[in-house]
Amino acid sequence: MTPQGRPAFWIGGAVLLAVLPWIPGLQSDFGRSLLSQMGIAAVFALSYNLLLGQTGLLSFGHAVYFGLGGYAAIHLLRAVNAGLPIPLPLVPLAGAVGGLAFGIVLGALTTRRAGTIFALISLGVGELVHATSLMLPSFFGGEEGVTASRTKAPAFFGLDFGSQVEVYYVIAAWLFVAALLMYAFMRTPVGRLCNAVRDNPERVEFIGYNPQRVRFIAFSVAAAFAGLAGGLHAINYEIVAAEAVSDTRSGAVLLMVYIGGVGHFIGAILGAVAITWLQVSLSDYTTAWLLYLGLLFMGIVVYVPGGLAGLLMMHLAALRARAMAPIARSYLLAAAPALALTLGAVTLIEIAYRRSTQPEAGALMKLFWIPMDTATPWPWLGAASLALAGYALLRVVGPRVAEAWRRAGEEIHARG
């Protein structure tokens, strides 16, 4: 049974969402803001998983529904600011309605085809909507976007949502509800038909279903939840700008779902958490963070098709079968070479990046607490040999890890 099939998953999830903003390290405004962003990303990624993971629709323009939902919510919030008596926690619903409406209109056009054609059309629609958002400043607010205030709303059980933690709980509550609804959707007849369409759209026609209709339903539902995420974004930032419908955001959600594990329910959540964390934290340390994100993405796609969730499930299965010890031993062997390869590669990337993007910063720099002069060949040679040595050793140790996993696989199989 999948983790999300157990009630404990949902109870544990609710408890976790409740206590997270009080955990040391996340207790700060920064931590709570990070958690809020992760929650928004998780709703968005779960909606994308509905498309890609469950229905097999690769979209390059899913941010369209996130952003248009966001605009719907921010305009509603402006109306609330002007006196419309709607409590703030309900404002994100306008995002869901907006996402659904645009999902129905644009989905009717785009889901007639699947595969590459669908992917290309989604890219085109994304560009179209992004361009439109810059051309219609009265609704989209141009580059600066549309702003509103979440505190100028009717009081909700005495809360005015002035503090980050109050907004976090709104986001967490919607995340919980949205996750539960999307999970429930996948277990309805039409949800299973989505999987069937993903696996083999042609055969679906011969059991009485129109695969275009199934895709359209999945697309509309995914657009509604993307819009909800956009609505949460609107109340969290109190601003929605053209960036919300951009291809960058469409690309980010694709990365989240791939890195988390396509088709895994928890994968979308893991991917959203990981990518948001990288976006927020890694970008503090290095300007090359996008490059690392790209490398991570490539590594996952090539070596770990199941993504983070796939890795997690493998290890849980090995643990349950009590087959983890030999695997852990092989990991210990591989740890040093992997660390050497990483350190060497990161050093090379950092000095190359610094030299090419910030030549004015000079040749002297400090990396991993080691001062180095990048005008001399020594840092380059040192880093390159470290990386090469790590790589060579990994080639030797790697098969041991694979062998440990193969044995564990037999063990798991034998135990059913």
Partner: protein, 268 residues
């Protein structure tokens, strides 16, 4: 045509007279791919309850004929009637909803769904669930029980919760038939159901086909003459896009034109 001929097997007695429409009736059906004619004027009438086999050399157009009837492709011209109603050129899912189900020569299943889910997908529409997104599919008793019954029939109960993609070839062929028959369609088309099976597996498949089609109409394309002569009430021989003979098995077996065109001298 063959309706007037006395038939060896009692259960088949094809309905005579115009009052009862045929289960399936093709009239002068043509199909060309580009300029190449593949189906060249096929007319065929299959009675309700009949088990009909279509035989013919490779490339004769047997699978293409199934594709035309099941709506995978549209005929260039001609009429195809299912229970008297015109279906030529309609989309496959509309034809399926009228009670026609087909299997494929090349296995065509849902590899990442479990065996049980594969079959359950095949019964959902016929049980009236349509595009339902308010009920839990695991709680639909009729759909789950129908799927489990079919699993019994195709002897895959032990593999119920296995992803269909990891089944053996023979198991996938059985599942292919299971998905096709599970929805209770009144007309079943099977395209080479026993292709690639061992002797033993073929015998099982014949029993399976016999039991799941006992109160339905069956049209099958089949290369194994043992299977054909065992199951079919009547046989049509398709050669180069034309039906050169339709008759009961015994007469097809003795037909000179058929022997020279298809069965060859080596055939027993």
């Amino acid at each position: 045509m063959a309706e007037t001929i006395a038939v060896a097997e009692p259960r088949s007695a094809p309905a005579a007279g115009p009052a009862v429409p045929c289960a399936l009736e093709l009239t002068d059906v043509h199909k060309s791919f580009g300029a190449t004619p593949i189906i060249r004027g096929v007319s065929l009438a299959i009675a309700r309850g009949e088990r009909h086999a279509i035989i013919g050399p490779n490339g004769a157009g047997k699978s293409t004929l199934f594709n035309l009837v099941s709506g995978r492709i549209a005929p260039t011209r001609g009429s195809i009637r299912l229970d008297g109603e015109e279906i030529a050129g309609k989309r496959a899912f509309r034809i399926a909803r009228r009670g026609l189900a087909r299997s494929f020569q090349v296995t065509n299943i849902f590899p990442r769904l479990t065996v049980h889910e594969n079959i359950r997908c095949g019964v959902l529409w016929s049980l009236g669930y349509r595009y339902d997104f308010l009920r839990r599919v695991d709680r639909l008793r009729d759909a789950n029980e129908a799927a489990d019954r079919t699993l019994e029939q195709i002897r895959l109960t032990a593999r119920r919760d296995t992803p269909a993609g990891v089944l053996t070839y023979a198991e996938q062929r059985a599942l292919e038939i299971g998905i096709t028959v599970a929805g209770g369609a009144k007309l079943i088309l099977l395209d080479e159901p026993t292709a690639g099976m061992s002797r033993h597996e073929t015998e099982n498949a014949v029993e399976l086909i016999r039991s799941v089609t006992h109160d339905r109409t069956l049209v099958m394309v089949e290369h194994d003459m043992g299977v054909v002569f065992d199951l079919a009430d009547r046989i049509s021989v398709l050669v180069y896009g034309q039906v050169i003979a339709t008759d009961v098995p015994a007469r097809i077996h003795d037909d000179e034109a058929v022997r020279s065109a298809y069965l060859g001298d080596s055939d027993a």
